[in-house]
Symmetry: C2
Subunit: 336 residues, 2 copies
């Protein structure tokens, strides 16, 4: 259906729905769990503790340098599991398509989901497709959910965070959001920035297997960036985090776009990064382990946990200490 | 936020997002798995085989006689698990909201999800909320996924279907779709029809526990109705199904609306019904068991499995035998 478009009748449950699901969607995700077309995918027994997550993807435009909505939809859910110490076992694929969507857009997104799933070692176990009228959607929305298993006996333990712990970031900030921004219509910015969207399971799961409780807890700083994520982490841990401004890794072109447009890289979304709070004594060893992996080559210690009231502070390049809060004003919508 | 509206900034990851999630969404679903605000809900160990499903809900209007999008989003996923013999353990709640949505619409839908979840004995373990610009969505879309456990050692076995098996339907056809149709703006039809949307786990799971393999397999005839569902079941079983037109249960007001508008009740969506293929020798006993439950009071044997090429046939009231195929023409969109 390369030159075709999605019609309302593709979502009405009749022959066109059957053909779309059987010939386009299921063909992309072909596997023994999905192919019997039951109302649920039968995963069998899963040994170990189960983790469950979901995320919706409404990014515009759906294709951008370094990734697309399909890759995002797989990696985002795989990463939400990975930062909880869980290996993704199966994901779901919920599509909401707008009438008139070029079929080619759908098939490109599905191909990308398949590739990202293979990269992350996960498969699509179930799915659903709805079609809404032109003007009642925006091309393609994807909601994935993921079932994972705690692989290394490790669990997030925000309660174990204590002064002296270090804050690690696995790479540069803001690449994803700036790449999407540049791809957005009507903006005439040019900069060599690619989204960092990638599955982090290969980076994080061996790490928690090796270092156990020395890794206190992890989050992926997506929407809201490192700034919001650290605020949420500090609140969960009841701890004070102090960042070193000079240590925050940002690529030059990202910094340049931020200076022009007045964005703070601290609040820009990332889709292939994690923040880790780790035992201070093990921080250098954990940093070295992160840097051995392709997704962690630019990992850095960006701050530490100190005594004091819970919250996030930043030691600036000139030596001051300022509060890092949730942003209140307008950010950029539709970036994931 | 009763008089408020959803803003783009509710989806941007900053303070408004945090407040929406903490004060509105999490408050509705408050439970020990969701409340730590990790990237995934930790479900612990689950003994038994796992089933996993997802469904998106885009119904318009979001509130209709007998139900609403929130109740639909919970029951639909619970039912997809139930027809596979699985008891829902946890569900996810993925929201895509349109900028300008009255907050009251959101809170009503969430309240309804909470009530339906309690009714079905399941809880919301994880969620995500995105906001799209006015004109890029349609009020509220909900995508739920569900993790369930095969409760009774029973599994769908389309391969065990054989001639002499009976086809059972747990109640009347088309109530949901006609209720939504009547609620739709611009239609001046009045009829006392309420959606049948309900969780079927309480009806179906004890049944497969009691009758085991005598229940071959089950499906819930949602989008596309009993007609499409039976076609899919016949294809999966490689069997011929013959329906008795006179035995198909349809409420009088539904039949009336269908006659006026030219709909065939066989293809209308249901949200609280199941089709079962059962051992012919046990059919009457299974029918009696169904009728003991409030969701199965109007259950009926609607046909049987015969020798012959796979497909669905209908013995009409005047004695003829006609093919029941997938509908090709236009149905009604956005009914679930």
């Amino acid at each position: 259906m390369r030159n075709d478009r999605i019609l309302l009748s593709h979502g009405e449950g009749g022959k066109r729905t059957r053909d779309l699901i059987a010939e386009v969607i299921a063909r992309h995700f072909d596997n023994p769990v999905l192919s019997p077309f039951l109302d649920a995918g039968l995963l069998g027994r899963i040994e170990g503790e189960i983790a469950f997550t979901t995320d919706g993807y409404v990014v515009t435009p759906p294709f951008f340098p370094g990734g697309d909505i399909g890759r995002l939809a797989v990696c985002g859910t795989v990463n939400d599991l990975a930062v909880c110490g869980a290996k993704a076992v199966a994901i779901s694929c919920g599509l909401i398509l707008e009438e008139g969507l070029p079929a080619d857009t759908l098939t490109r997104a599905l191909s990308s989901m398949r590739e990202a799933a293979a990269e992350a070692g996960v498969f699509v176990a179930c799915g659903d497709t709805k079609v809404v009228e032109t003007g009642k959607g925006d091309g393609i929305f994807i909601t994935t959910a993921g079932v994972g298993v705690l692989a290394a006996g490790w669990k997030p333990a925000p309660g174990k965070v204590r002064p002296g712990d270090r804050i690690l970031l696995t790479g540069t900030m803001g690449d994803h959001q700036i790449a999407v921004l540049i791809a957005r219509k009507g903006l005439s910015i040019e900069a060599p920035v690619r989204s960092d969207v990638a599955p982090l399971s290969g980076l994080l799961l061996p790490l928690v297997g090796r270092f156990g409780g020395k890794v206190r807890f992890m989050r992926d700083p997506t929407r809201g960036g490192v700034g919001v994520t650290l605020n949420e982490m500090a609140a969960a841990a009841g701890a004070r985090f102090v960042l070193e401004e000079a240590r925050l890794p940002v690529r030059e072109p990202v910094r340049g776009v931020c200076e022009i447009l007045g964005f703070d890289p601290l609040y820009l979304a990332n889709e292939g990064k994690a923040v880790l709070i780790v035992d201070g004594d093990a921080a250098e060893e954990i940093l070295a382990a992160l840097r051995e992996h392709i997704c962690g080559k630019e990992a850095a210690v960006i701050g530490e946990v100190t005594e004091g009231a819970p919250g996030v502070r930043m030691r600036t390049a000139v030596g001051g200490l300022r509060a890092v809060d949730y942003p209140v004003g307008d950010q950029l919508p539709r970036i994931c």
